[in-house]
Subunit: 451 residues, 2 copies
Amino acid sequence: MHFEALTTDLYELTMAASYFEHGLNGQATFSLFIRAYPPHRNFFVAAGLADLVEYLESFQFTSSDLDYLHSTKLFKDDFLDYLRTVRFTGRLMALPEGTIFFADEPILEIDGSLLEAQLLESVVINIINLQTMIATKAARVVQAAGGRRVVDFSLRRTQGIEAGLKVARSCYLAGYAGSSNVLAGKLYGVPVVGTMAHSYVAAYEREIEAYRAFVQSFPANAVLLIDTYDTVEGAHKAVKVGREMKERGQRLRGVRLDSGDLVTLSHEVRRVLDEGGFQEALIFASGGFDEYKVSEVLKAGAAIDSFGVGTKVGVSADAPYLDISYKLVMIEGRPVMKLSKGKKTLVGPKQIHRLSDSGGRFHEDILSLREEDVAGGEPLLRRIMDQGLRAAPVEALTDIRDRFQAQLKRLPRNMNDLEASVRYPVRLSEGLSSLQERVEQRIEERELGES
Amino acid sequence: MHFEALTTDLYELTMAASYFEHGLNGQATFSLFIRAYPPHRNFFVAAGLADLVEYLESFQFTSSDLDYLHSTKLFKDDFLDYLRTVRFTGRLMALPEGTIFFADEPILEIDGSLLEAQLLESVVINIINLQTMIATKAARVVQAAGGRRVVDFSLRRTQGIEAGLKVARSCYLAGYAGSSNVLAGKLYGVPVVGTMAHSYVAAYEREIEAYRAFVQSFPANAVLLIDTYDTVEGAHKAVKVGREMKERGQRLRGVRLDSGDLVTLSHEVRRVLDEGGFQEALIFASGGFDEYKVSEVLKAGAAIDSFGVGTKVGVSADAPYLDISYKLVMIEGRPVMKLSKGKKTLVGPKQIHRLSDSGGRFHEDILSLREEDVAGGEPLLRRIMDQGLRAAPVEALTDIRDRFQAQLKRLPRNMNDLEASVRYPVRLSEGLSSLQERVEQRIEERELGES
């Protein structure tokens, strides 16, 4: 992916200019975390790190960027000269993609000079927010489908083309079987899938002619869309075409429903298919699915074998953003925090330690200072970049997918309910609690009532 | 912007392959329209056309795209050879950006060979969906702010970096004063704006030192963020620093509140500023704003001069997608439609005619067949591309912005309520109604009960 250094909020640059002017460019640590769970989510699925590393590796202002900044008349020449040389030369500690994590836990921490680490803020948040939000949502759909195949059809209504690509990858990471997004197939190896559109049916004089033409082109993979005019009539036509295929030694793969009452229609269509001798033909369904609707139609006994899931997951419609922040937690060895109402932050560089029971199930996370000794837990934040260079190998998307599935099995059993709020225990270590308290006290003494 | 031809749904390609195999590549018309209003919206603001034209102009499969498609084993060689030569060579009729339009009205129509016009579907919808959705939302915020300045702070939590850029442009188009997104400044000339972050305050040992450092760097533009520790204390410190500025002949521009009860805090802060002699210092507010919250705090009498509006508008949180579709409406001179339950479409190439009263106020749109004579209305869909080439000049974003403001003034007065549903009258012409009826009848005769 191509990144532009000017993809940033203006204040990142004005703050940097001021730091530069005052020679304030000591070592800083910023921490990225999610404050609160969106409705019904009990955990998050880390995603976006691959892009983030690409961004950090390629971060650089071009001459035309600097010309533009010069034209704003906001910046002095010596600062623009400095910007020309800026690269990311720091360290990135992060959760590998596919890791399950919880509110308040750092997804990543960046150690670097104050200027560098500050300039990156907008894009760091943006990348992780989108991909983690979608992976988290998609994981719920897969769970709701209870083993049935789920594929991503969201491209047309994602919030941008880039979003469509990232959604396809994030959904696959979280357990989808594939995506309709062909570029995701090319770039990420996501299996590509698809059926046909209403326009294909409408392009022929008669619906059944469209079916005949399509199975001739794709005899092995044809899934016929049967709701353009009337779903049950469409099923009868599919049976007719399926019989013609049988005579040629071919097999009708299935049909797709995309509108109407999918529970009732799926039964009527199943009956038409079964009575026609097509017990093995699959019923695909699409149209407004998310984890809630998948769960609802399955509870109602819908005869659906596979779900095409689009917009509502592609934009995480019930929670289209995360309460995610990138906060300065240490500067020149001094731990810092923000006290703003309801937005308190945890000080200092940190580590997450995950404790499991004897059966291998996760039962508690301890959030500690980064270098603090915590007995028995597995440290989750890994060193991904050092001195601006990649310090960990690029991971295959299939490995990331496997990591998530493996972790999912180790979650406490009661956390799999799609609608109940279950809070996984995350405890602060002694070191972190006491530092937190000391810093809070120091700020209250210094800042409240001084002026 | 760089577009990839593989940004498409797989079925666009399999349908195209099947059309190709059957020599079905006659002239087709597709129509893009929105079926229904999101909650509280009474109109839409057309946006995205500039990108769409770029996409259509550059549409082309690369050798590596074709290699990838070959690797999927879904396509025959002669089709892939054909794809190598595909370009958009058709016509684009569209609403100019900034045009106000209504449900069921075509935002654009593409005339082209069936294959070309079909392959473009996913991206055509994607581009217009995002930008129109955001411009429509942003227009509401500007209205709620009643003349106060509104700026876009959404970049960090938009659904992708591309989305952030398009949001900045779409908000400006709809009347925002600027954006924090620096790339939007460089690429689109959107005025860039910004204040400071909590991390800037935290980077200094004391809050007041941070203020002093910042006003030294930006004496003409400093807006001090005062809620890092305590908002009212922050206001007192701002006054102190403002007085130091006065002595140097400088002027404190304002302060920003970003958390807490903004109504109460804005009054307390206003009082501190006024008593300190800073009646002219502005109060900026940010934090969770959208049209509802802007309207709410203003109704409650908040002393806020300017709004920084972020995530909730940047993702159109209350309606994060439009019910938008791209449908085949004519093929080889034969008008077609889809009958699926609740998703009926209007047949044939169309035109929108807008009728105004003697005072210049819009009072009715007539949706007609494209070539039908309709007396007295202004036709809204313009010829933007012909034979694959641009047929209308590129418009300046400021002109688009002006178009929207001019149209907004001509809307019926009762349509400006932010919470009431008011339906602007859109009537079908005689020609369109009767064609619609005939096609519906034809389909019912042919498709229902035939098998």
